[in-house]
Structure formats: C-alpha cells, structure tokens
C-alpha cells in the first residue's frame, strides 16, 4: 500500500503538465463566474467605505447587509453556478478518462490525454451514471432512516452521548463508503482501459477485486484523501489572519491557486497509485 502511495506520488508528479491542463481548464470556468462576482460586488457596495472592512477576513454586518439589500442580484450567480457544476460533471468524465489512459499507459504527452478522453468518454459516461445512481440510492438508504432515528433517539437511548457518537460513526462509515465507491469506480475504469472488457464485467470484476483487497485499497485512497485534508487545514490556518494589504491578497490568491492545482495533482496521484496497486498481475479474478 505504501509502495503504491509512493509510486502514485511520483507518477503524479511526473504528469504535472496534464494536471496543469486540467487545472487551467477549471480555473478558466471558475473565472467566468469570479468576474461576475467582482462586478456584482462592485455595483452593490463598490463605492461604500464599509467595503474596507472586508479587507479583514470577514465582517458579518457588511456581508449580511449586502445580502439583505442586494440578494436579488446575487442569486442569479448561484443559478449559473449550479449549471456550471453540472456541465463540469460531464467534462469530468472526459478529463478522468484522459488522465487514467495516460497514467495506465505511462505516457506523458498531450495526445495520450486527449486520445484517452475521446476513446472512453461514452463508456465512462454510462459507467459514471451507474455509480452516481448507486451513490444516490445508498445515501438515501443510509441517511433517511438514520436521520429519522437520530431525531427521536434521545427518547429511546439512555444518553445523548450515544446519539452523538452514533452520528460520528455514521459519518465515518459514510466516508468509508464514499472511498469504497470511488475505488470501485476507478477499478472498473482501469479494467476497461487495460482489458477492454464490457462495463458490466468491469463493474463485477472491479468489485470482486476490491472486496479481496478492500482495506489496502481504501487505505490507499484514504491516504490520498488525508493529503487533501492536510492541504485544506494549512490553507485555513494561513487564511484566517487579519489581512490588510494588496500584497497579502496576492499572496492568498497564489496560495489558493496552489491548493487548487495540488488538488488536481492529488487526483492524478490517486489514479496512478490505485493503478499501481491494482497491477495487472494481481487483478485476475478467480473464475
């Protein structure tokens, strides 16, 4: 597992150009909305002296007054954002197919990325739809009954401590489940690229392999997930300093973009790590 982790990191780093492409694409999409955020803020409170209070990290009164009075001009942005996220979900199918193709074949050129994306898009699109549906069904099956129980649990349980710990346990379990689903969908895609099997076979064999190597695989993905958490923690800690100068703001922008780039990079690393872990010589399922 640690060897795959290490291998994933190295392979991911070597694919920095591909990560950069994906990052730039994300940035471009985000900027289209970011520019509008700038203009809406400028039009609503751009000439107010209260704006200076936002140089500090946050000011509840300024923000809430802004939302109270100018909420109508901000809500269309949220509508646009929803559509953008949906569109990106579809782009992701292409992008992830490209990354996986390049990582599995250990190719570092642009062509491998575009070729992979184009080759596997439609099959991965269907596969993605299956896993999203599965996620929705599993989430509903877990959370609806649990939350129903949780709301009335103080009536039945001897202490509210138990309710709280049950909730924490459920969240951990759900996180594990997300990691499991992520690993499974990744296995299936790797299987398809390596062996060209049908979606259904890939799903079946992916699950089969994953159940046999459940802890090492989810552990590996969890390690990469922890890298995300660590990056965010560092970001929060630095971000919450009372800031006043433009230089600091530029520094934060750089920091934010570094975090965003690293998140893409970690995704590539995860793909590479799991691909290494799920090496061809171990993936043959028993008949």
């Amino acid at each position: 597992m640690f060897k795959s982790f290490q291998n994933g990191i190295l392979a991911g780093l070597s694919q920095w150009r591909m990560a950069l492409t994906v990052y730039l694409f994300q940035l471009l999409l985000a900027i289209t909305l970011g520019v509008q955020v700038y203009h809406v803020l400028e039009a609503s409170i751009g000439n107010s002296l209260e704006l200076n209070k936002l140089l500090g990290n946050y000011d509840h009164t300024v923000i809430r007054d802004l939302l109270n009075v100018h909420g109508a001009s901000i809500s269309p942005l949220l509508g646009q954002f929803r559509w953008l996220a949906l569109a990106y979900l579809i782009f992701s199918v292409f992008i992830h197919a490209g990354i996986l193709h390049a990582v599995i074949n250990q190719e570092k050129n642009w062509l491998a990325f575009w070729k992979g994306g184009a080759t596997w898009f439609f099959r991965f699109f269907k596969l993605g739809a299956f896993y999203l549906l599965l996620l929705a069904v599993i989430s509903a099956a877990i959370w609806l009954p649990f939350l129903g129980f949780f709301a009335t649990s103080p009536e039945y349980l001897s202490s509210e401590k138990i309710s709280v710990w049950l909730l924490i346990l459920m969240i951990v379990f759900y996180l594990f489940l997300l990691i499991f689903l992520f690993s499974w969908s990744l296995m299936a895609r790797i299987k398809i690229i390596r062996e060209g099997v049908t979606n259904w076979t890939a799903i079946r064999q992916g699950l089969f392999w994953l159940t046999r190597h459940c802890f090492s695989t989810t552990g590996l993905v969890a390690l990469f997930f922890l890298v995300h958490v660590l990056i965010f923690f560092i970001y929060w800690e630095i971000n919450d300093t009372g800031v006043v100068s433009l230089g600091w703001i530029l520094f934060f922008m750089l920091l934010q973009q570094l975090v965003a780039y690293f998140r893409v990079m970690v995704r590539v690393m995860t793909f590479a790590g799991v691909s290494h872990h799920f090496a061809p010589n171990t993936d043959a399922p028993e008949p």
Binding site: G34, N47, L51, Y58, H60, P154, S159, L181, D240
Partner: protein
C-alpha cells in the same frame, strides 16, 4: 485549573442549609399574594396531590366579590384549549398522537375561605379573552362575602395536578425528569389596566404568552421519592425523611411572582458563589463540560447587571440544564430559577448556551423584579433582556466574535440582534407594542431584536452614563411592581431631559416612541458626491457704456463639491456626517436628519472624496449600513479578495463534483 472554585458534589443532602437565607425583613415588595403549599409527588403517575393556602390582600380601592386563578396546566388537557386549538404542533412538536397519560390537567378538589364557607360548588372556568368555552385556563371563584379594600383573604384548597409530557416547558420526560411550572392554582392580578381602570388581569393561556402575577412569599414543602434530585426557586430550609422513605424538602422564597421546581434522578450539582449569591447548577452528566461555561456566564451577568441596573437581592440562583430528551423544558425564566439548554460536547467556538444563560438570568431583573406584563407588553421584558444579553455576551467574549468564532467566520450578539430585525422580509410588518397573542409573524424579530436594537441605538445617542442612569432609575422605581410601557417612557423622558436638556431629551423620547409604537424604519443614504472645477464667468456682459462685451472665463484651480444625502426611511435621527477631502482633511458635519434630501457644499482648493453618515454607527436601526457612505476613490482590493476567494471555492466544487465519474 482556571476555575479552581468549581466543585462538583453529588449530594445526598442537597444543600448545606444556613448558607442560603431566603427571608427578607423588611419585605422588598407589597406581598399581596402569599402561598403555602404542601405537596406529594407520585413520579410514576406524574401527579401531585397538594394542599395550598393562599393569603391574598386586596390592595385595590374596589370591593371584590370574586377571585381569579391561573389554571394553565389545563391548556394541555386536550386539543380544544385556547393554547392548542388550531395547531397540530407547538414549537415543532406534534401533539396530535398523544396517549392518554401524556396530557396534563389541574383540578381544585376543594376550596374554602378561612372561617367561612366552602366555595367549591361555585367554581367556574371563564374565558375573558376569546370566549372559547372549552378553555379551562382561568378559574373564577365567587366569594361568599365581599372582600373590602385592604382586607386579607385566606383560602384553603386541595388540588391535584397531572403533568403532561413536556409541552411548552411544563411536564415530564423519560427517566423521571420533571419541570414543574404552571403547576398550582395561582391568583391573577387585580390592578389598574392599560385602559386606566381597576380590574382583573388574568388572561387565558395563549401560545405566545408566559406569565404575570403578584409578588409574595412562597413556602413550598415537596415530598418526593428519595431517588430524585430536586431544584427549586428560593432556598431549601428544611429536609426530613418520612416513615415511608419519601423525603420532604421545604423551600422558601420571598418577594417573587412565581415558584418553579424540577426533579430528575441524574442531575449532578455544581455550586459556586458570587458575592452573596449561591449559584447552583443542576446538570445531566453528559453536559458536565458545560458547567464552567454556564456558571461563568451567570457570574458575568451578575456583575454586569449589578453595575448597570442594580443589586440582585436574592441569596440564590438555580440553573437547570435539562437532558436532551427534555430540551423543550429549557430556555425559560422563573424567579431565582432559570432553565437553559445545550448538547453533548458543545464546541467552544459556539457560545449559544452561554448567551441563553445570560438571557434567562437577565430576566431576573426584567420579569422577576421589574414585573411588567409579559402577555400585554412583552417588549418590556424580552426586549430589555435581549439588549442586556447582547451587552453581557459581547462584554464577556469580545465584540465581533462573541457568539460564533470559527475559521474566520465570526459575529457577535449585538450584530445578530440587529440583523434579525434589519434582515426581516418586511420590517414594517407591525408595531412592537401589542399583546403577544396578536402576533402572527415576526414576534421574535420585533419584540426581542428590534427592541434591543432600539435600546442600543438610544444608548449610543444618549451616552453610556445617561443610559445607565435611565435604566437604574427605572429599576429602582419599578422593582417589585408592575410597570407599563408608559412608565418606562416617563423615566426615559425625565432622566434624558434632566441630563441632556429639553431638546435632546425630547428627541430621544420621540425616537424611542417611534421604535416601539410605529412601524417606521430608518435608512440614511449618501446619494452622490458631485465635484467640479469652478470656471470664471463666460458669455456676453454689459460693458457699462450701453454696449456688450464677450468674456471667456478660465477654469480655475478651485473645486466645488456637493455631497447629496437622502433620508429614505420614515424615522428622523440627528446624524453626523464625516466629509473627507483629497488632502486627507476630515470635517464632521451635523445634520438634523429631517429633510428627505440634504446637500452639503464646499468650495476650495481641495475636493471631497468621501462622505460617511453616522461614521461611528450609532444608529443601528439603519436598515442598510453599507449605503451610509460613498467614496469617489474606492478600494479595489477587497473586491479582488472576495472574487479570488469565489474563484477558489468554485474550483474546489468543480474538482469535487466529478469524483465518481
């Protein structure tokens, strides 16, 4: 340990008597309504059987032929009571599927006048507010002989009460948890009402109302199973074990308007003192990490209110923190006993429980001592208490971060109160000064938040010292009595005129009146700043010899600046306007705030670059503080900071949404 004073004691004997002396001599109030109650709790059946002796003095000039009693537990008897009628849930709690033993009621089994006749046969439920014949929350007791002015009436009664499963604080929860409020027949108030006439003030129990009663002494003996840990108003003065193993505990408290008590086997007791006050916290084991925080909040409230309002005379305060399954009994005030609320492992960056403790404690001043009528003029207690809650919490935990402080997201109590009011979809939905049952919506935003924001605004205008004097005078004059809104206004007018002069004092009064008695709103706006260079005269001019001459004037280096201000709200405030020039010079203008449009003009070598109405933000009632200023040289960096942050979070969401595909 930071709080070395904190000691947790699980007690078999629940308090060391003698530390707590509840007797006031001379009395602090007139004590027209005094109760001696001796009861036994059957915790399995959720019932109490009691004997009550009421000693009641007719302090009015009228001869009375009847008494009226609150019988509020009957509001939980069935769905037809005025309290429950027309609703299927109360405070988010569905009550339509209640089992037979989950309803509550109270009944006087017998009542008689000392030395006089049995009165039981004449008992009759009346409905003075809405005529709902099914409502049994007010009982009329016709007297056999008239009660003359100044006479004392002694009534002996036996009553039975069945506690409901908790609705609106009163009742039981699992594991023998009980909160006993509205639990005994309590006399209404015979007083001069808002119409200026003497009469009974004994309203039915409405959903949004609480309590209003006369001052007196309470001596309550509670016999209960020894496994129950008790907490009650006042002091425990006697405790004895009976032959059947039950324990009788006698509590006494003077000069209060009500008596509440609680029982639960699993309470842990924390005790502390502040000057002469015993602080007693009853808390379930899973909440013990909150003990220091609750006691700290109440101690801070004690010292803050003593400094800014007056002395807390009682020797004790009991804080009851219910377990989560009984949270609906939390967050309420009773004389010398408050209920609070929290969850297991409440994080330290969220100080809602401390704020609630400060709020409920502040009710000891406004409700328990200054006993205004919560049913008819709730702003006099809830508004004042919210205002002090904001002040106490911000003083204790810091401005701009007292309530929430997590990863840079932070705000304080005062901001929250203001925003609850200014963020209303319609801040003109109604006036504050209405009986609680007339509120269909926005009761909290108006009664609590708008009143608190109004009081803070006039404090900013009058100054801390004058405001303290107003509140201290009001407290000294009206403690242990029943003031009305007009009584507070009279003190406000008297002190502010005396301290600030006729004009300013009158203005403060009229501002506060419009806050409470009108729906007017406040919004001052800097509309525009127009700057131009002055040109010398140009055109054709008489030359003085009968002819015309053409002159082309030059553009000079002198600027003419106009600052255009608007009053968009209905309320009128005198405001300060800070004008800043391009050389950094600042001047403070005064505007009476009266006209709908006001222009300040400046001519000189320097031009105006910004204007700021009320730069110290004294007028918190202003609906939009962002439009109170305008600059011609705006900073772009905050916009940039927020836009880049938006970009960052959009990137993060995009990166996350596709994790499965």
């Amino acid at each position: 340990m930071k709080y070395a004073w904190l000691t947790a004691i699980m007690l078999t004997t629940q308090i060391a008597f003698g530390q707590c002396d509840p007797f006031f001599n001379p009395p602090l109030s007139e004590r027209p309504a005094n109760y001696e109650i001796d009861l036994k709790l059957d915790h399995a059946a959720k019932t109490i059987a009691a004997r009550e002796t009421l000693t009641w003095i007719n302090t009015s000039p009228d001869t009375l032929r009847e008494m009226r009693f609150y019988m509020y537990l009957n509001s939980f008897k069935n769905t037809e009571s005025t309290f429950l009628k027309g609703a299927s849930e109360i405070f988010g709690q569905d009550f339509t599927n209640r089992k037979a033993d989950e309803w509550g009621w109270i009944n006087i089994d017998s009542i008689g006048r000392q030395g006089g006749r049995e009165l039981t046969a004449g008992l009759r439920y009346i409905q003075p507010d809405d005529g709902n014949k099914m409502d049994q929350s007010v009982l009329q007791v016709p007297l056999d002989q008239p009660l003359f002015p100044g006479d004392t009436l002694v009534l002996h009664m036996k009553f039975t009460a069945k506690m409901p499963k908790i609705i609106a604080r009163a009742g039981y929860s699992k594991d023998d948890y009980f909160l006993f409020v509205h639990w005994f027949p309590q006399a209404g108030v015979y007083q001069i009402n808002l119409d200026g006439k003497w009469g009974w003030n004994c309203h039915q129990f409405h959903r949004m109302t609480e309590f209003f009663a006369d001052f007196g002494s309470y001596d309550v003996s509670i016999t209960a199973s020894p496994h129950l840990v008790l907490g009650a108003s006042g002091c425990l003065i006697e405790e004895k074990e009976n032959a059947d193993g039950y324990v009788t505990r006698r509590y006494h408290v003077d000069d209060v308007i009500d008596f509440a008590w609680t029982a639960y086997p699993y309470f842990e007791i924390y005790e502390d003192t502040w000057e002469h006050v015993n602080i007693r916290l009853l808390i379930p084991p899973e909440h013990c990490s909150m003990a220091e925080r609750y006691i700290g909040a109440v101690k801070h409230s004690l010292s803050y209110l003593t400094k800014h309002v007056g002395r807390y005379p009682y020797p004790t305060i009991t804080i009851v923190d219910p377990p989560l399954h009984a949270l609906r009994s939390g967050l309420m005030e009773y004389p010398t006993l408050i209920t609070v609320g929290t969850f297991y492992n409440m994080p330290t960056w969220f100080r809602n429980s401390e704020a609630l403790a400060a709020h409920e404690f502040a009710h000891q001043y406004f409700m328990a001592m200054v006993a205004s009528n919560e049913k008819e003029e709730a702003w006099l207690d809830e508004g004042f208490v919210t205002w002090f809650e904001d002040r106490i919490v911000d003083d204790a935990y810091g401005r701009k971060k007292s309530l929430v402080d997590l990863f840079g997201f932070r705000y304080d109590s005062r901001e929250l109160s203001r925003l609850e009011y200014t963020g209303m979809p319609n801040p003109k939905v109604g006036i504050i000064a209405r009986p609680s049952w007339e509120f269909v919506e926005a009761r909290k935003e108006l009664i609590y938040s708008k009143t608190a924001t109004s009081l803070e605004t006039i404090r900013n205008l009058a100054g801390d010292e004058v405001m303290d004097k107003i509140i201290m005078t009001y407290f000294e004059r009206w403690k242990f009595r029943h003031p009305k809104g007009t009584d507070f206004l009279a003190v406000l007018e008297e002190v502010s005129k005396q301290e600030l002069g006729e004009v300013m004092g009158g203005m403060i009064l009229s501002i506060f009146e419009s806050c409470i008695y009108t729906t007017d709103v406040c919004d001052y706006v800097v509309g525009n700043i127009v700057v131009g260079k002055i040109s010398e005269p140009t055109g054709v001019f008489d030359d003085g010899k009968g002819g015309l001459t053409f002159k082309k004037g030059q553009v000079t280096d002198t600027y003419h600046s106009e600052v255009i201000l608007y009053r968009e709200g209905d309320m009128v405030f005198p405001v300060e306007v800070e004008i800043t020039f391009d050389n950094g010079e600042k001047i403070m203008e005064k505007w009476d705030g009266l006209d709908r449009r006001k222009v300040f003009e400046y001519t000189g070598k320097n031009r105006v670059i910004s204007a700021h109405i009320d730069p110290m933000q004294k007028i918190l009632l202003d609906l939009d503080l962002n439009n109170n200023s305008l600059t011609l040289e705006p900073q772009k960096s905050p916009l940039f900071r927020y836009a880049t942050r938006a970009v960052f979070w959009i990137q993060n969401v995009l990166q996350t949404v596709g994790f499965l595909v």
